[in-house]
Symmetry: C2
Subunit: 141 residues, 2 copies
Protein backbone atom coordinates (compact mmCIF):
# COMPACT_ATOMS: atom_id res chain seq x y z
CA UNK A 1 0.00 0.00 0.00
CA UNK A 2 1.15 3.47 -0.71
CA UNK A 3 0.74 6.64 1.31
CA UNK A 4 1.32 9.69 -0.73
CA UNK A 5 -0.81 12.47 0.56
CA UNK A 6 -1.18 13.49 4.14
CA UNK A 7 2.37 12.31 4.63
CA UNK A 8 5.71 13.98 5.01
CA UNK A 9 7.93 13.83 1.93
CA UNK A 10 11.33 12.23 2.24
CA UNK A 11 12.81 15.59 1.43
CA UNK A 12 11.38 17.07 4.62
CA UNK A 13 12.11 14.00 6.68
CA UNK A 14 15.74 13.94 5.57
CA UNK A 15 16.06 17.68 6.00
CA UNK A 16 14.86 17.51 9.60
CA UNK A 17 17.22 14.64 10.35
CA UNK A 18 20.12 16.52 8.82
CA UNK A 19 19.32 19.56 10.92
CA UNK A 20 19.27 17.45 14.04
CA UNK A 21 22.77 16.23 13.23
CA UNK A 22 23.99 19.75 12.57
CA UNK A 23 22.47 20.91 15.84
CA UNK A 24 24.97 18.71 17.67
CA UNK A 25 27.97 20.48 16.14
CA UNK A 26 29.13 24.07 16.37
CA UNK A 27 30.00 26.16 13.37
CA UNK A 28 33.72 25.58 13.84
CA UNK A 29 33.23 21.91 13.11
CA UNK A 30 31.27 21.66 9.87
CA UNK A 31 29.66 18.37 8.99
CA UNK A 32 29.97 17.01 5.48
CA UNK A 33 27.10 15.79 3.36
CA UNK A 34 28.73 12.39 3.26
CA UNK A 35 28.91 12.14 7.04
CA UNK A 36 25.21 12.85 7.34
CA UNK A 37 24.17 10.64 4.43
CA UNK A 38 26.12 7.77 5.96
CA UNK A 39 24.90 8.12 9.52
CA UNK A 40 21.28 8.76 8.55
CA UNK A 41 21.18 6.35 5.61
CA UNK A 42 20.15 8.95 3.11
CA UNK A 43 21.00 9.06 -0.59
CA UNK A 44 24.05 11.34 -0.88
CA UNK A 45 22.91 13.19 -3.95
CA UNK A 46 19.40 13.70 -2.67
CA UNK A 47 20.67 15.02 0.65
CA UNK A 48 23.04 17.32 -1.21
CA UNK A 49 20.13 19.11 -2.86
CA UNK A 50 18.28 19.41 0.44
CA UNK A 51 21.25 20.95 2.23
CA UNK A 52 21.75 23.40 -0.59
CA UNK A 53 18.19 24.62 -0.31
CA UNK A 54 18.57 24.96 3.46
CA UNK A 55 21.69 27.02 2.86
CA UNK A 56 20.05 29.19 0.22
CA UNK A 57 17.18 29.85 2.62
CA UNK A 58 19.68 31.15 5.15
CA UNK A 59 19.67 28.41 7.75
CA UNK A 60 23.03 26.86 6.94
CA UNK A 61 26.50 28.10 6.20
CA UNK A 62 28.95 26.07 4.18
CA UNK A 63 32.68 25.68 3.78
CA UNK A 64 34.24 24.15 0.70
CA UNK A 65 37.34 22.00 0.49
CA UNK A 66 39.00 19.76 3.03
CA UNK A 67 37.62 20.22 6.52
CA UNK A 68 34.57 21.83 5.02
CA UNK A 69 30.90 20.99 5.36
CA UNK A 70 27.71 22.57 6.63
CA UNK A 71 26.87 24.28 9.91
CA UNK A 72 23.90 26.05 11.46
CA UNK A 73 23.96 29.82 11.16
CA UNK A 74 21.82 30.30 14.27
CA UNK A 75 21.53 28.35 17.47
CA UNK A 76 19.02 25.54 17.05
CA UNK A 77 16.63 26.93 19.67
CA UNK A 78 16.09 29.93 17.45
CA UNK A 79 14.85 28.00 14.44
CA UNK A 80 11.15 27.14 14.77
CA UNK A 81 10.04 24.08 12.89
CA UNK A 82 7.27 25.99 11.17
CA UNK A 83 9.95 27.71 9.10
CA UNK A 84 11.62 24.46 8.10
CA UNK A 85 8.34 22.74 7.34
CA UNK A 86 7.19 25.58 5.13
CA UNK A 87 10.48 25.65 3.27
CA UNK A 88 10.82 21.94 2.64
CA UNK A 89 7.25 20.67 2.66
CA UNK A 90 5.17 23.70 1.80
CA UNK A 91 1.91 24.62 3.51
CA UNK A 92 1.07 23.40 6.98
CA UNK A 93 -2.51 22.63 6.12
CA UNK A 94 -4.63 19.86 4.71
CA UNK A 95 -6.12 22.08 2.05
CA UNK A 96 -4.73 25.10 0.20
CA UNK A 97 -7.81 27.10 1.22
CA UNK A 98 -6.84 26.91 4.91
CA UNK A 99 -3.14 27.60 4.43
CA UNK A 100 -1.85 30.81 5.97
CA UNK A 101 1.28 31.08 3.86
CA UNK A 102 0.27 29.31 0.68
CA UNK A 103 -3.41 30.17 0.39
CA UNK A 104 -5.30 29.15 -2.71
CA UNK A 105 -9.04 29.03 -3.28
CA UNK A 106 -10.72 25.75 -4.15
CA UNK A 107 -12.13 25.28 -7.63
CA UNK A 108 -15.18 23.41 -6.45
CA UNK A 109 -16.24 25.57 -3.49
CA UNK A 110 -18.70 28.41 -3.88
CA UNK A 111 -17.73 30.05 -0.61
CA UNK A 112 -15.62 29.07 2.35
CA UNK A 113 -18.33 30.01 4.82
CA UNK A 114 -20.66 27.38 3.47
CA UNK A 115 -18.02 24.72 2.78
CA UNK A 116 -18.78 21.68 4.88
CA UNK A 117 -15.18 20.82 5.68
CA UNK A 118 -13.52 24.22 5.88
CA UNK A 119 -13.90 24.77 9.61
CA UNK A 120 -12.71 21.30 10.44
CA UNK A 121 -9.58 21.73 8.36
CA UNK A 122 -8.83 25.00 10.13
CA UNK A 123 -8.93 23.16 13.43
CA UNK A 124 -6.47 20.59 12.18
CA UNK A 125 -4.22 23.27 10.78
CA UNK A 126 -4.19 25.21 14.03
CA UNK A 127 -3.38 22.24 16.18
CA UNK A 128 -0.56 21.13 13.89
CA UNK A 129 0.73 24.65 13.58
CA UNK A 130 0.86 25.04 17.34
CA UNK A 131 3.11 22.03 17.66
CA UNK A 132 5.54 23.12 14.98
CA UNK A 133 5.52 26.66 16.33
CA UNK A 134 6.42 25.51 19.81
CA UNK A 135 9.26 23.28 18.71
CA UNK A 136 12.61 24.20 17.26
CA UNK A 137 15.51 22.40 15.65
CA UNK A 138 16.87 21.98 19.18
CA UNK A 139 13.99 19.62 19.94
CA UNK A 140 15.11 17.21 17.24
CA UNK A 141 17.24 14.73 19.07
Amino acid sequence: MAYLCFMLSKKTKYGLKALSVLAKHDRDNPVTTLTISDSEHISYKFLESILISLRKAGYLGSKKGKGGGYYLLQSPEKIPLTDIMRLLEGPIALLPCVSLNYYEACDDCQSEETCSIHRLMIKVRDSTLEIFRNHTVADLK
Copy 2:
Protein backbone atom coordinates in the same frame (compact mmCIF):
# COMPACT_ATOMS: atom_id res chain seq x y z
CA MET B 1 3.06 25.89 -7.17
CA ALA B 2 2.02 22.42 -6.27
CA TYR B 3 1.17 20.92 -2.91
CA LEU B 4 1.13 17.22 -3.03
CA CYS B 5 2.13 15.82 0.27
CA PHE B 6 0.81 16.86 3.64
CA MET B 7 -2.43 17.59 1.86
CA LEU B 8 -5.79 15.96 1.63
CA SER B 9 -6.50 14.15 -1.63
CA LYS B 10 -9.48 15.21 -3.67
CA LYS B 11 -10.88 11.77 -3.10
CA THR B 12 -11.12 12.42 0.63
CA LYS B 13 -12.26 15.97 0.19
CA TYR B 14 -15.04 14.94 -2.18
CA GLY B 15 -15.96 12.00 0.01
CA LEU B 16 -16.41 14.21 3.05
CA LYS B 17 -18.48 16.68 1.10
CA ALA B 18 -20.67 13.92 -0.25
CA LEU B 19 -21.21 12.57 3.24
CA SER B 20 -22.24 15.99 4.44
CA VAL B 21 -24.87 16.11 1.71
CA LEU B 22 -26.11 12.65 2.59
CA ALA B 23 -26.29 13.63 6.24
CA LYS B 24 -29.01 16.10 5.37
CA HIS B 25 -31.30 13.42 3.93
CA ASP B 26 -32.87 10.41 5.52
CA ARG B 27 -32.67 6.94 4.10
CA ASP B 28 -36.13 7.17 2.56
CA ASN B 29 -34.91 9.92 0.27
CA PRO B 30 -31.75 8.66 -1.39
CA VAL B 31 -29.52 11.18 -3.13
CA THR B 32 -28.14 10.41 -6.56
CA THR B 33 -24.54 10.69 -7.58
CA LEU B 34 -25.54 13.27 -10.16
CA THR B 35 -27.25 15.45 -7.58
CA ILE B 36 -24.14 15.51 -5.44
CA SER B 37 -21.72 15.95 -8.30
CA ASP B 38 -23.73 18.90 -9.54
CA SER B 39 -24.20 20.65 -6.23
CA GLU B 40 -20.61 20.09 -5.07
CA HIS B 41 -18.99 20.60 -8.47
CA ILE B 42 -17.34 17.23 -8.48
CA SER B 43 -16.55 15.07 -11.51
CA TYR B 44 -19.42 12.61 -11.80
CA LYS B 45 -17.33 9.56 -12.60
CA PHE B 46 -14.80 10.29 -9.90
CA LEU B 47 -17.51 10.79 -7.30
CA GLU B 48 -19.13 7.54 -8.42
CA SER B 49 -16.04 5.56 -7.48
CA ILE B 50 -15.83 7.30 -4.11
CA LEU B 51 -19.45 6.55 -3.23
CA ILE B 52 -18.98 2.94 -4.22
CA SER B 53 -16.07 2.56 -1.86
CA LEU B 54 -18.05 4.21 0.94
CA ARG B 55 -20.83 1.76 0.29
CA LYS B 56 -18.52 -1.24 0.17
CA ALA B 57 -17.04 -0.15 3.48
CA GLY B 58 -20.51 -0.26 4.99
CA TYR B 59 -21.26 3.43 5.46
CA LEU B 60 -23.74 3.84 2.64
CA GLY B 61 -26.69 1.94 1.32
CA SER B 62 -27.79 2.28 -2.26
CA LYS B 63 -30.92 1.91 -4.31
CA LYS B 64 -30.90 1.39 -8.04
CA GLY B 65 -33.31 2.68 -10.64
CA LYS B 66 -35.58 5.71 -10.63
CA GLY B 67 -35.86 7.34 -7.22
CA GLY B 68 -32.70 5.55 -6.23
CA GLY B 69 -29.42 6.88 -4.93
CA TYR B 70 -27.29 6.65 -1.81
CA TYR B 71 -28.14 7.07 1.84
CA LEU B 72 -26.35 6.79 5.16
CA LEU B 73 -26.73 3.47 6.93
CA GLN B 74 -26.21 5.01 10.36
CA SER B 75 -27.07 8.40 11.77
CA PRO B 76 -24.28 10.86 11.03
CA GLU B 77 -23.44 11.40 14.71
CA LYS B 78 -22.37 7.80 14.90
CA ILE B 79 -19.74 7.98 12.17
CA PRO B 80 -16.46 9.36 13.52
CA LEU B 81 -14.28 11.09 10.97
CA THR B 82 -11.32 8.94 11.88
CA ASP B 83 -13.06 6.07 10.14
CA ILE B 84 -13.73 8.01 6.99
CA MET B 85 -10.24 9.49 6.90
CA ARG B 86 -8.63 6.09 7.24
CA LEU B 87 -10.81 4.62 4.54
CA LEU B 88 -10.41 7.37 1.95
CA GLU B 89 -7.07 8.91 2.79
CA GLY B 90 -5.20 6.19 4.62
CA PRO B 91 -3.12 6.72 7.76
CA ILE B 92 -3.68 9.70 10.03
CA ALA B 93 0.00 10.34 10.48
CA LEU B 94 2.85 12.19 8.84
CA LEU B 95 5.03 9.09 8.70
CA PRO B 96 4.14 5.40 8.34
CA CYS B 97 6.22 4.67 11.46
CA VAL B 98 3.81 6.66 13.65
CA SER B 99 0.64 5.36 12.11
CA LEU B 100 -1.58 3.31 14.40
CA ASN B 101 -3.53 1.55 11.68
CA TYR B 102 -1.08 1.50 8.80
CA TYR B 103 2.25 1.07 10.57
CA GLU B 104 5.37 0.57 8.54
CA ALA B 105 8.96 0.79 9.67
CA CYS B 106 11.27 3.31 8.02
CA ASP B 107 14.06 2.06 5.79
CA ASP B 108 16.54 4.61 6.97
CA CYS B 109 15.96 4.48 10.71
CA GLN B 110 17.94 2.21 12.98
CA SER B 111 15.50 2.45 15.84
CA GLU B 112 12.49 4.56 16.61
CA GLU B 113 13.76 5.42 20.06
CA THR B 114 16.77 7.23 18.67
CA CYS B 115 15.02 8.75 15.65
CA SER B 116 15.23 12.51 15.91
CA ILE B 117 11.79 13.21 14.53
CA HIS B 118 9.76 10.25 15.78
CA ARG B 119 8.45 11.82 18.98
CA LEU B 120 7.52 15.02 17.25
CA MET B 121 5.52 13.17 14.63
CA ILE B 122 3.68 11.27 17.33
CA LYS B 123 2.62 14.59 18.85
CA VAL B 124 1.26 15.76 15.51
CA ARG B 125 -0.51 12.49 14.95
CA ASP B 126 -2.15 12.58 18.37
CA SER B 127 -3.40 16.12 18.03
CA THR B 128 -4.83 15.45 14.58
CA LEU B 129 -6.30 12.19 15.70
CA GLU B 130 -8.05 13.85 18.61
CA ILE B 131 -9.82 16.25 16.31
CA PHE B 132 -11.02 13.58 13.90
CA ARG B 133 -12.01 11.34 16.77
CA ASN B 134 -14.15 14.03 18.33
CA HIS B 135 -15.94 14.93 15.15
CA THR B 136 -18.45 12.96 13.18
CA VAL B 137 -20.15 13.23 9.83
CA ALA B 138 -22.81 15.27 11.62
CA ASP B 139 -20.25 18.01 12.14
CA LEU B 140 -19.84 18.45 8.40
CA LYS B 141 -22.22 21.23 7.50
